[in-house]
Symmetry: C2
Subunit: 146 residues, 2 copies
Amino acid sequence: MADINHRVGIKSSPEAIYEALTTDAGLATWWTNDVSGAGDVGSIIEFRFNGGGPDFVVKELIPNKTVGWQHSGSVPDSWVGTEISFQIDTGQEQTFVRFTHSGWKEPSDFMAHCSTKWAVFLISLKDSLELGVGKPFPNDVQIDHS
Amino acid sequence: MADINHRVGIKSSPEAIYEALTTDAGLATWWTNDVSGAGDVGSIIEFRFNGGGPDFVVKELIPNKTVGWQHSGSVPDSWVGTEISFQIDTGQEQTFVRFTHSGWKEPSDFMAHCSTKWAVFLISLKDSLELGVGKPFPNDVQIDHS
């Protein structure tokens, strides 16, 4: 098994970060502009990128602290069985977001690609909350030419 | 053990990428502007950030294909024993760089921080080669407020 780990520090409140991770409108500010279904535990969030994209079922919510998703469905294939968690922790001058995308069967090239791309989107989350403008798909920072 | 994995695709030649990974001048275009010591296998590269920073001994060089470093010295503490590799692979319209920073004792918050920060520097490498301007330290993209 292999995991992706990231951590960013954001000058924003845990409440604002939690909102950006748990609502369609919030998620659309930093990951992709096409999000639907975000809600309570058990809800299925559909993230779309030019029509296709992954679904996640919300597995855990601790307000302003923890958000846990489990991949749902079959796309992309290598995400099947993986889980994503966001842990929100208050620091002295910032709020930290610890991100984990765990349960990859192997550290494939695609997993490495996703690792780099998750960094891009977490910086987009930071920019969205600090500057008022993130870079969600289709305005995301490109890391290759595919 | 835990590893950091990344992958970027760059519109540049394997030769130019290899140069950026194996010379002081090349490394200074994307990681930190204060680099010395890059050379053949066995040389020790000193990367400095405001005076402090890690040393790496060059362990493997396959021209235009593979660059391997092993952490040397005691700073930062949690990097001791870790290794870094860059694998260069030619794609159809781009050259891929597969990055691994392996051998972390645990997926600590600092490891997660470094994972995000490596993505920033690999995108800096991409920008340096494609646009002629990277964002090495001290002009690097900030991922927190430390």
